[in-house]
């Protein structure tokens, strides 16, 4: 029932590498749009402030080799990165909590370029249930389990108020979802085999405030 299953073997990457690969991708996508044919790791290094030995190491996980003196073929590198990162495959997801952030994600057409296809929203508020956001239907959260039995989506995006985070996560997991993208500042507890990615924008604010009033920055820790 899972529409996003794949049969190919995939590599477990160190998380810092996974964080850097999308930087390389957005840079080489730009070069590709400018019809630039080749790029060296030195160029990527100068542009992105990452050591070129690190770039070579990160890219060694991919099925691509640079040519001596010329570098990587830009278009192939874009395709390889997209493929490797899973951005060229469709991953269906639901948004739970269709407030301002949830709605923004449902309207963000950029996400499709990163392989994310939001197919439904869920909420508790009567005024939004039965409506659509950018063509995507919003259902009553009480329908989640039944809906999920039919659709078998793997990814739940949690954009609920913080005090609902754990309940909604439990419900999503009980419904068979295996990956939670948590936008609340709450640290969700989940079984080991559930993937959780925390995107707590508020934690980043704390970092900004702390660094602003000191101006000592550890750029290696940026993220």
């Amino acid at each position: 029932m899972n529409k996003t299953n794949h049969t190919e073997e995939r590599t477990i990457l160190p998380e810092p590498t996974i964080r850097r690969l999308p930087w390389y991708l957005s840079y080489v996508r730009m070069l590709d749009n400018m019809n630039i044919e080749y790029v060296s790791s030195t160029q990527i290094s100068n542009e992105l402030n990452v050591q070129s030995s690190q770039i070579a190491k990160d890219l060694s996980y991919l099925n691509i080799r640079g040519k001596t003196r010329i570098g990587y073929e830009v278009h192939s590198l874009v395709k390889e990165l997209e493929n490797f990162l899973g951005f060229n495959r469709q991953h269906d997801a639901v948004v739970i909590g269709t407030g301002s952030l949830g709605t923004a994600l449902m309207q963000d057409h950029g996400l499709v370029n990163y392989g994310l296809n939001i197919v439904a929203g869920f909420d508790v508020r009567g005024e939004v249930i039965g409506q659509t956001v950018d063509g995507v239907p919003v259902y009553d959260i009480s329908e989640l389990e039944a809906w999920q039995r039919e659709h078998g989506v793997s990814i739940a995006i949690l954009t609920v108020p913080v005090e609902r985070a754990q309940d909604v996560a439990d419900l999503a997991i009980a419904s068979g979802m295996t990956a939670l993208w948590n936008f609340t500042p709450y640290r969700i507890k989940a079984p080991e085999d559930v993937v959780i990615a925390n995107t707590s924008i508020y934690a980043h604010l704390a970092i900004i405030y702390n660094r602003m009033h000191n101006t000592i920055i550890d750029t290696n820790k940026q993220q």
Copy 2:
């Protein structure tokens, strides 16, 4: 002219500590709302899956002491955390790029609870310039420098298309902004004294996809 300057001394914290403190805050805020008076580091530990020795260490940066056998006074801990993290002070910011994500941030009333006050938006699109989003005016990006001379805001939130990220960052910095909250997947180059926080939601997608197809998770690396 900077409306968010403070005179107090502040401590440079390790970034992992700054990332955990907002977790503690959202948890103890919930307890406070439930009128619970005391919480121990063991309780916080069980709830948030962080070792209690780590919690005690993180909280030792704050001006608060737990009582033996009773723990921390919840309401005081909320206030101390808010104060320490800067969430109880107003930090003015502008949003550059009022697309779906920028607009969502302008409409997110939750940010005020974390000390962020968005006072203006900037864009290049004629149809949004001169409009307001939730009462906040949107100006032409060409007016940024002049506007900034008058208002002296420190924080610029970058929600522009990726290919505009560096240009807009350069403009914000030239205008005197000292902290950039970068939501684009582009790795911005900036002088050392400019604070940059990268909230690249796309990088988190790559992590989800990679982990989903493997289900080996390093929970220490969650974030």
